[in-house]
């Protein structure tokens, strides 16, 4: 039976090495029935974009706690757009101040999750807003 599974790339761009949250999310997405490609810490936006293309994912989830989200998140979105892959949904999470949000949405991010967001709300957001790419 033909089944399109939602595929998610989870990555931590930049120098921040705190990936406990990302691992919890990876497990949570696995339990929600998604295929999660976890790529770990310390990646450049270029590495993340290249991996997203090779893995043909529907969603790229970026996590950043170090404060560099204002540069890193838009950079990933831009690289995907340059490759004609702006149909891949980019979402972000981590320590993201309220005043940075507008700029991130403008840069192409579709959702931002900050501490306190429940795992259920993330899964629900994806199930509601992401259709596996035809």
């Amino acid at each position: 039976m033909s089944v399109r599974r939602i595929r998610i790339l989870l990555a931590k761009p930049g120098l921040d090495g705190h990936d406990r949250g990302a691992k919890v999310l990876a497990r949570c997405f696995r339990d929600a029935g998604f295929e999660v490609i976890y790529t770990g810490c310390h990646q450049t936006p270029e590495q993340i974009a290249a991996a997203a293309l090779q893995e043909d994912v529907d969603v790229v989830g970026l996590s950043c706690l170090s404060g560099a989200h204002k540069y890193l998140f838009p950079q990933v979105a831009k690289l995907l757009k340059d490759e004609g892959a702006d149909d891949i949904v980019v979402i972000g999470g981590g320590i993201i101040p309220e005043q940075d949000m507008d700029a991130l949405y403008e840069a192409g991010l579709k959702a931002i999750f900050t501490p306190g967001a429940t795992l259920e709300s993330l899964v629900e957001w994806i199930n509601t807003n992401v259709t596996p790419r035809a």
């Binding site: 295929e35 999660v36 043909d56 490759e83």
Partner: protein
């Protein structure tokens, strides 16, 4: 769907990743793209890397990619991880160890989930190999899901099978058992600086010696048993993987020189016909049964012991296959 195969042949990365996904998801009519590429395939050397979970297959794959890139060979990787039997989800984490190649345009790494297949490989792996072959990769490395003793499906797909062993996994009786230990063209004893490596090395050598003359090696392939040092000493690790790369290439040359390549391919081809038949015959039947909940009703009936699965299957077969 049409032209997708042609785009793969022209080296289009996105077309390749999309085609592999369509194969995994069993999207209807994907065979059209496969028809476009199939006759152009058969140029890649397919290398299987298999062994227990945690044996170091991904790290070994990463170093092997590096070693091949030093020789200017293009490399494609299919890395398989398990699907949850409960949720159907999967965490594919092999890529974490291969990050340094992410931006190398001549390396293509794709993670696949087993999606319920029992042989340590997903059904799409065999087809994915053709896609990477059509993409022009000289070497296609298939890293199996961490397998147990009987998961040996890799021999249906690879020209050269590397079995990775680590010290501390069992006694010499394990080495004598059927299954995994029989499929190796090359043994790697990984983490060879660990206690017990020497013993494992000797046991594996003994086992290889005993099986001499039993299969293709009758024609002269001596199954090597290689010791690979820990990654904690990167230089030594790289050096031992270079030796492995040489052996892998030597084995491929041996297959070519002795006209054994087609024997290996025969196995794969027969498995492929098998799978294509499954898709062509069984899948439409299953799809039809799943429609309107017919299959669910059958499950209920069997559960209530009103009928047995064997009579049910025979009845269905009679109805669909004339």
């Amino acid at each position: 769907m049409k032209e997708l195969g042609k785009r793969v042949l022209s080296g289009d990365i996105r077309a390749a990743s999309r085609l592999i996904r369509n194969l995994e998801d069993q999207v209807p009519n994907t065979y059209i793209a496969m028809q476009e590429i199939f006759t152009k395939t058969g140029n890649s050397h397919v290398i299987g890397i298999t062994g227990a979970p945690g044996a170091g297959k991904s790290t070994l794959t990463d170093e092997l990619i590096y070693s091949y890139r030093q020789k200017d060979k293009s490399v494609g990787v299919l890395a398989v991880d398990p699907t949850s039997p409960f949720t159907g989800g999967a965490l594919l984490g092999d890529r974490v160890r291969m990050l340094r190649h992410a931006e190398d345009k001549r390396v293509f790494v794709r993670s696949l989930a087993t999606r319920g297949s029992m042989g340590g490989l997903s059904k799409a792996v065999g087809e994915g190999i053709h896609v990477l072959d059509a993409l022009g990769k000289a070497k296609v490395i298939v890293e199996t899901c961490g397998v147990g003793q009987q998961e040996v499906e890799i021999i249906n797909h690879a020209h050269t099978v590397i079995v990775v062993l680590v010290p501390g996994m069992g006694d010499e009786i394990q080495a004598l058992k059927a299954g995994l230990m029989e499929v190796a063209d090359i043994f790697v004893i990984n983490k060879a600086d660990r206690e017990g490596a020497g013993k494992l090395y000797k046991e594996t050598l003994n086992m290889v010696h005993m099986s001499k003359g039993s299969k293709e090696d009758a024609k002269g392939w001596n199954i090597p048993v290689l010791l690979v040092e820990s990654v904690l000493e990167p230089h030594k690790f790289a050096k031992s993987v270079d030796v492995l790369r040489e052996k892998v290439d030597e084995h491929y040359q041996y297959l070519i020189d002795n006209n054994l390549l087609s024997d290996r391919m025969r196995r794969k081809t027969s498995a492929e016909i098998n799978e294509a038949l499954w898709a062509a015959i069984l899948q439409p039947v299953l799809n039809d049964l799943e429609k309107d909940g017919k299959l669910d009703k059958m499950v209920d009936k069997v559960l209530k012991k009103e009928v047995d699965p064997y009579s049910l299957a025979e009845e269905i077969a009679c109805r669909y296959i004339k």
